[in-house]
């Protein structure tokens, strides 16, 4: 009985993972398929990647995504680290709620409200508004990772630094920051992937002229799912995967979300 339940669980898990990953595998496979149609396998080719790198619209979109991603991750890392530090230092209930709520709110609401916000302020929609929007939703994620890292730190180390003559800022700069650095870097990478991948919030805050990779893919798909879309999706997937692997290496608790706050 016991044994059968274990096998059942395994089969269920296998189906679950297949459901998750099979579509991704199909996209990757078709990106190398020597056919305009996503139907039968014809033969291996790198043509779609060549088309991709010759497509000016796509390159502009990629550049925009990169610029926004770098800005968003840089700024949200600084602000998120500060927020994480504050959550750790002043253990009130209010701070975590303030920082974490934006993560739980449906993205479409965040998108719409940011759009209204920008319009109210008469802010021109474009690269800057998208970057600001991304910063806003990345802060919470960075803050969680940084706080988890701080929770694992010996409290007396900061006191020892002060005892050795460091001002609060020096204690943070020379002791706290180096010790939470893996968490900060993991947070930065996470922010970057979140920004690169984001569609919904970007859609609302980009305005007419500005295009990012996910927006570009969407507009191409409206006509047909071309192998070129498969190719760019594959590259995006690869980049995301790489960053996630690096981030999880630096902050193992990320993968064990249950235990991340000891």
């Amino acid at each position: 009985m016991r044994k059968r339940r274990i096998t059942l669980a395994k089969v269920a898990a296998a189906f679950g993972y297949a459901f998750l990953y099979l579509p991704l595998v199909i996209v990757v496979v078709y990106s190398f398929n020597d056919s305009r149609l996503n139907a039968e396998w014809v033969g291996f080719t790198l043509n779609w990647y060549r088309t991709l790198f010759a497509d000016d619209d796509m390159l502009v979109a990629a550049r925009n995504s990169l610029v926004i991603g770098l800005c968003a991750s840089a700024v949200s890392t600084v602000l998120g680290t500060m927020a994480g530090f504050a959550m750790h230092r002043w253990k009130t209930r209010v701070l975590p709620i303030l920082v974490l709520t934006p993560i739980a709110i449906p993205e479409i609401l965040v998108g719409v409200s940011l759009l209204i916000f920008f319009v109210l302020l008469n802010f021109t929609l474009g690269l800057v508004s998208v970057a600001i929007a991304h910063i806003a939703f990345c802060i919470g994620f960075v803050a969680i990772v940084v706080r988890a890292r701080m929770a694992g730190m010996d409290e007396s180390l900061t006191e020892a630094a002060r005892d050795c003559g460091a001002t609060p800022w020096q204690a943070f700069r020379y002791v706290t920051l180096p010790l939470i650095m893996p968490g900060v870097i993991a947070g930065a990478l996470m922010a970057f992937t979140l920004s690169i991948d984001d569609f919904v919030i970007t859609f609302f805050t980009a305005g007419a002229g500005t295009v990012t990779l996910p927006l570009q893919i969407y507009s191409m798909i409206k006509i047909a799912v071309t192998p070129e879309v498969n190719a760019v999706s594959t590259l995006l997937m690869l980049l995301t995967l790489l960053l996630i692997v690096i981030a999880s290496r630096l902050s193992p608790s990320l993968l064990r979300s249950q235990e991340s706050t000891p």
């Binding site: 010996d154 007396s156 180390l157 006191e159 020892a160 630094a161 002060r162 005892d163 050795c164 003559g165 460091a166 001002t167 020096q170 020379y174 002791v175 180096p178 010790l179």
Partner: protein, 361 residues
């Protein structure tokens, strides 16, 4: 003027008073120990001296200057934390150099100062290692080197040896005494271990529930405890309490329940009828099969009920004919004998009036 002075220092956590109107004066060059059971407020008191906690009432004065507005980094006081609190991302050298860097010591002077500090704690050659590559005792030494490298006026040590095993602890105790003498720095040392306090200190403050019960030299604290708590906490002690029956030329007779009349020498002018106690150390009692016919201030017969063999000495618990429990101690120094009595043996105990210590309740 004392180097450090605490005046009516009080610290509360909610309704709980962790440190309760403490007055202390510590002189320059002293090895001063705060001794008391766990939870009596030793760490809290130390943290107020270091500046990590603010007193709710009272003042902390260093060289006569109130420290209320000085943050920890501005106080010429260093702490050796119980957890060592070495910076894990810095090497031993990095750790020891850190206070020098914070004090803006010229960069070319730093390596020399670090080397000297490491030499003082006998860790020359360990500079490149990281804290996780060191044993507990070595980490302890790094923590001390880091604390001493800037030559502070005062070192605060919070149970620094508690995590070490007995053998290493004894070694470190001797090293601490030598370091303190050599550096001439005032030590304020926290421990719950009375033997450690007796062995290390010039003076001991015995704490109980946030209060200082007695401040004295180790031998005085041991020999003349001011309260029942101090007598009981420092070493083994028989505590007899009863009613004062008579006072006659420096000798007070107390009627102790189940034991009988016990005579104790004291200058106290206590009135008969008052409750009082006598503290009597087990090693002050003569114990034998029979003490002969010589006159004695205090003599009681009893039966050995238990014994505790400790190697160098044996503690005998004797039940007197009246039903009182008395602990007496004999050194096992006589060759060829492990112990003198067995449970059930009839014995006679005897001590002069000057052996006990009178405590007013």
């Amino acid at each position: 003027m004392p180097l450090l002075e605490l005046r009516q220092v009080t610290r509360r956590f909610g309704d709980f008073t962790a440190v309760d109107h403490v007055d202390l004066a510590i002189d320059a060059g002293e090895f001063f120990t705060l001794l008391g059971p766990s939870g009596c407020g030793k760490t809290t008191l130390l943290r107020m001296i270091a500046g990590f906690e603010q007193p709710d009432e009272g003042q902390v004065l260093l060289d006569g200057v109130d420290l209320a507005d000085s943050p920890p980094e501005a106080r010429p006081v260093r702490t050796v934390f119980q957890s060592y609190a070495l910076f894990p991302h810095m090497s031993v050298e990095g750790n020891v150099a850190f206070p020098l860097q914070m004090a803006k010591t010229p960069a070319r002077e730093i390596p020399k100062r670090v080397a000297e500090a490491l030499e003082d704690v006998r860790l020359t050659g360990f500079g490149r290692r990281y804290p996780h590559e060191l044993s507990g005792g070595q980490r302890q030494r790094v923590a001390i080197a880091r604390a001493l490298v800037t030559h502070p006026t005062m070192l605060l040590l919070d149970e620094p040896l508690a995590a070490l095993d007995a053998k290493l602890r004894e070694e470190m105790q001797i090293e601490l005494i030598n370091l303190q003498k050599q550096a001439g720095i005032t030590f304020v040392y926290v421990t719950h271990d009375q033997t450690e306090a007796l062995a290390l200190s010039h003076r001991i403050a015995v704490m109980n529930r946030g209060n200082v019960e007695q401040v004295d030299e180790p031998s005085k604290v041991y020999r003349f405890p001011k309260s029942r708590f101090v007598a009981d906490f420092i070493g083994q002690c028989n505590l007899f309490s009863g009613t004062v029956a008579a006072r006659d030329g420096g000798i007070v007779s107390i009627a102790v329940d189940a034991l009988g009349t016990v005579r104790v020498a004291t200058p106290s002018t206590i009135a008969p009828g008052t409750r009082a106690s006598i503290a009597l150390r087990p090693e002050q009692i003569r114990i034998g099969a029979s003490q002969g016919d010589t006159a004695s201030d205090n003599r009681f017969r009893g039966t050995v009920s238990d014994l505790l063999y400790m190697g160098d000495v044996t503690v005998y618990r004797v039940r007197t004919d009246g039903g009182a429990e008395v602990e007496a101690l004999l050194a096992n120094s006589q060759t060829g004998r492990a112990k003198f009595f067995e449970p059930g043996d009839a014995v006679e105990m005897d001590w002069p009036a000057a052996a006990g210590h009178f405590i007013e309740d």
